[in-house]
């Protein structure tokens, strides 16, 4: 898209301020629309968080009210519930395993695909790209059979992390390849001349230089593993369940306890939120990179 700048170049006086300020439309109306947008976006989330501080009686009496008085019991109950922590641990371990595999194996595969020249390079790349076209849902029932019957890995952390990593690999490679391609070749050539081998170049130069890209794909893999529902639903039972499963089960088991459900749900959303806020730029960069490239 950046090539589009060419035709317009030199046509204009450089007065960027003027353009922005122009027009009567950056008006209260714009702020009003923005406010409505924020209310609609955050409203349900805030309602759930605040709902956790109310009692069911309060919720039934006045659904749209604020906590009065504020009740900590619901949150306390969830935080002292062993199951909550078990699910959180499962989610964390699975997400970490998934992310580690995605980042390491993805980078390793992206490296030759971006910087080696060989006959089967593009076909090899296409194998991964077509992975983007496979809806994971399609494979989920056979995957369940394979993991549970053929491999005997149902209800294990690895049994969930391995297929999740496999399904994250295509996107990872598609993001990382252009990223590696953009690293200047001179560095490598200089290293070659100094007698370094491919592997040592990979470890000592490509790895650190591609760190920003790795963070992006890592965050994407982590968040999608953390949020996953369908695969854990089929593969993980009882004590091995992950947080999203826990939330869904809690919600249906305690359907009358709305305040409790809100507390459980709100606590379950915290980790992904924090992680996201910390890594926001990288996620957005990664997504738009994937869309553009």
């Amino acid at each position: 898209m950046s090539t589009m700048t060419l035709p317009a170049q030199g046509m204009t006086a450089p007065e960027p301020r003027q353009r922005r300020r122009r027009g009567p439309r950056t008006s209260p109306l714009v702020y009003f629309v923005a406010l409505v947008l924020v209310a609609l976006t955050l409203g349900p989330v805030l309602y759930a968080v605040l709902g956790g501080f109310r009692t069911n009686a309060q919720l039934a009496e006045n659904p749209a009210g604020l906590p009065n008085p504020w009740v900590l019991d619901n949150y306390a109950k969830v935080l002292t519930d062993d199951r909550f922590w078990t699910y959180a641990l499962n989610s964390t371990v699975v997400a970490v395993l998934t992310t580690a595999m995605v980042v390491i194996f993805g980078l390793m595969a992206a490296y030759p695909l971006s910087r080696y020249r060989f006959k089967f390079r593009e076909p090899l790349y296409m194998i991964f790209v077509t992975g983007l076209l496979f809806p994971a849902t399609v494979a989920v029932i056979p995957l369940f059979v394979i993991i549970s019957k053929d491999l005997g890995m149902s209800n294990t952390w690895w049994g969930l992390a391995l297929p999740q990593a496999a399904f994250s690999l295509p996107m990872t490679i598609v993001i990382l390849r252009p990223f590696l391609q953009a690293i200047p070749t001179d560095i490598e050539e200089a290293a070659f001349i100094d007698g370094a081998g491919r592997v040592s170049i990979f470890l000592r130069m490509m790895l650190p230089l591609s760190a920003p890209g790795l963070v992006t794909v890592g965050v994407l893999a982590f968040v999608s593993s953390w949020n996953a529902y369908l695969l854990p639903l089929l593969l993980m039972q009882g004590e091995m369940r992950t947080l999203p499963l826990g939330v869904a089960d809690y919600s249906s088991e305690h359907s009358a306890d709305t305040a409790g459900v809100f507390a459980f749900t709100s606590l379950a959303m915290i980790p992904a939120m924090i992680f996201f806020l910390a890594m926001q730029r990288r996620i957005v960069g990664g997504l738009s990179g994937a869309v553009k490239g």
Binding site: S2, T3, M4, R20, R22, R25, T26, A34, L37, T41, P44, V45, P63, A64, F105, M108, Y111, R115, Y116, R117, E122, I127, L133, P135, T137, V138, A139, I141, P142, L143, I146, L162, A166, F167, L169, Q181, P184, T185, F192, I193, R198, N227, Y229, L230, L234, L245, V247, S251, V261, T265, A268, M269, A272, F276, L277, Q280, L287, S288, G289, K292
Partner: protein
Amino acid sequence: MSQTTAAPPKGASEGVVEGGRSEERPPVTRPRKPRDWKMVVEIIAFTAPALILFAMFVVWPMLKAVQFSLFRWKGFGPLVDFVGLKNYISVLSNDVFIGALGHNLFIVVASIVIQLPLGIAIALLLNRKMRFQGILRTVVFVPYVLAEVIAGVVWFQLLQPKYGVIDSMLAVVGLQGPPQGFLGTPEYALWTVMVVITWKYLGLAIILFLAGLQGVPEELHEAAQIDGASWWQTQWHITIPLLGPTLRTWAFLSMVGSLQLFDMVWILTKGGPANATTTMATFLINEGTKRSNYGIAGAASVILFVIALTMALLYQRFVLRRDHATDEPKEKSR
């Protein structure tokens, strides 16, 4: 990527790394034979873990889905009851599946029709210089980061008949929700799911469009304004067309996502009431897990896959193709 076919023979170019004008550089000279062999080993070593993982957990299950679809199998014992295309026939003549297909297509179309204009409008709005812009951009993205399950559970509570906050807010303006709740009434259920999906995914559209807007050069706006174009004219004739590739790619992602929609529906309605919100995914999960009809589930999977692939290829062929002409320079600039 046609340049690979035109690449000089291996021996001459090996060692010279890809990315840019490597042909112009003098090749780094090194003995040919051992290097070639070593390179092959390296390529295999580097790609093997990813390939093995991909083959085991993506390709193999896909093939298994095809295999299952040809048998009547309840999950016990060996696959012996070969039924040919019978499962396909029974899936395609199943009203629930056909209904599900209709719902998926509705969601594909509705997602684009609703989210595209809204997303563009909001992205243009947020692209203006205004206070709290950074916060706004973060806030808009929040629903997207939530797990679908979590968003679904929250909305399920909000939408509860009578005691839910939505109904009580409607009561304030003198309206009344349906007695069975929005999710419990067949006529409203799919639209309600659609509203929740829009809430969840609009932020993604906005963020992607905003990123696309970064690529629209300001000079063009200035030029248009010097020529006397109004703000709206500038957006309509310049910004939105230049956003084309981003919009088309977003629409593609949205389509693929809509076709495999599962989590949200499962949490909100389980496909009900009276199958009013079944999707192909909830259908096949239901058949596969609840009823252990692996053959039927396999056939539904393959049909879902064929539909998704056909749509993807058609879209690629007729819509995305024009973006590909600009692929090469773009790649180098990134």
